[in-house]
Assembly symmetry: C2
Homo-oligomer: 154 residues x 2
DNA sequence: GTTATTGCAAAGAATTTGCATAATC
DNA sequence: GATTATGCAAATTCTTTGCAATAAC
């Protein structure tokens, strides 16, 4: 078994610091460009490339989670506690879900296929509270992660 | 609640027919370009755009599943029976997993967030049998869906 | 002072789209 | 024959990368 290489950042930069701070402050699972817009309020000269690079590094170091919620843009989560997500098929918003039965975890082997399982992610598709009332409008909360494509997945 | 619009294809074309046939024949969860290469053996003049368009339509009509396995390219599955997937973090291969505990399903409301749940997908990350023996080589089976980016997700 | 990291801009990969042509109903 | 679907190519979108300048150690 090859070990997964974990590349830790080697220098502390203000850019990475602000990116991590802002991501951890949010519960909205922003995309890279969402975060770019937010971080730019504090670091107007930061580039989108730097945001991507740092999000990669932080995810690889296990300090944040990358969601790839399905539907194009990756989303990021500053909360690394084990939990799952629910994505609104109307407005694209992503919420947290904690009460999910325990699923096979690290070390288990999926009998039928012989895969050694390392981790698992669950994504629910549903309709968020706002879209349940006011379909497809996107609502009016102070969130940064509205928009995003609707799923066409089953 | 707005109803989800389902756009059924309105005419039967040989292209769509072959795409569906070939996808249902495979258990390898091919990407759009994988399938393009396969279908082209029977329809040499088909275009990649047509493959994308038809995969979209078929997924929207519920005749196939779109996986968006996380990590770039979407993958497609001709098997629409409820089941979940496991993706090899070394070679990118995607397998099926059937024995997963029942999770909240259609109609349930995720208490903590108020989302109405419509469906759910579970993706395991793991190491496939071949990569467990011979790390990261990609093995030598007759599959079309080798390759694909490694996950950096937790 | 050395070297990782940045900003910028250009490249890349995956997917979508406009439009004339071809095929289905 | 009317209109949908195709093939082709260009456009979009999201992400990555090369490189000189900058900042961290």
């Amino acid at each position: 078994m090859r070990s997964l290489k974990i590349t830790l950042p080697q220098r502390n930069t203000r850019q990475r610091d602000v990116i991590l701070q802002e991501l951890c402050r949010l519960t909205s699972h922003p995309t890279a460009t969402d975060l770019y817009d937010i971080v730019r309020r504090r670091l107007p000269r930061i580039s989108l490339g730097t945001v991507y690079r740092n999000l990669d590094q932080l995810a690889e170091a296990g300090m944040i989670r990358r969601l790839e919620a399905g539907g194009g843009q990756a989303r990021f989560d500053g909360n690394i506690e084990p939990h799952h997500h629910v994505r609104c098929i109307h407005c694209g918003r992503v919420g947290d879900v904690h009460d999910v039965p325990t699923l096979p975890g690290a070390g288990d082997v999926a009998a039928a296929d012989g895969y050694e399982i390392i981790s698992c992610r669950v994504e629910f598709l549903g309709v968020c509270p706002e879209c349940r009332e006011e379909p497809a409008s996107g609502g009016g909360r102070d969130r940064v992660d509205r928009g995003g494509r609707m799923s066409r997945d089953g």
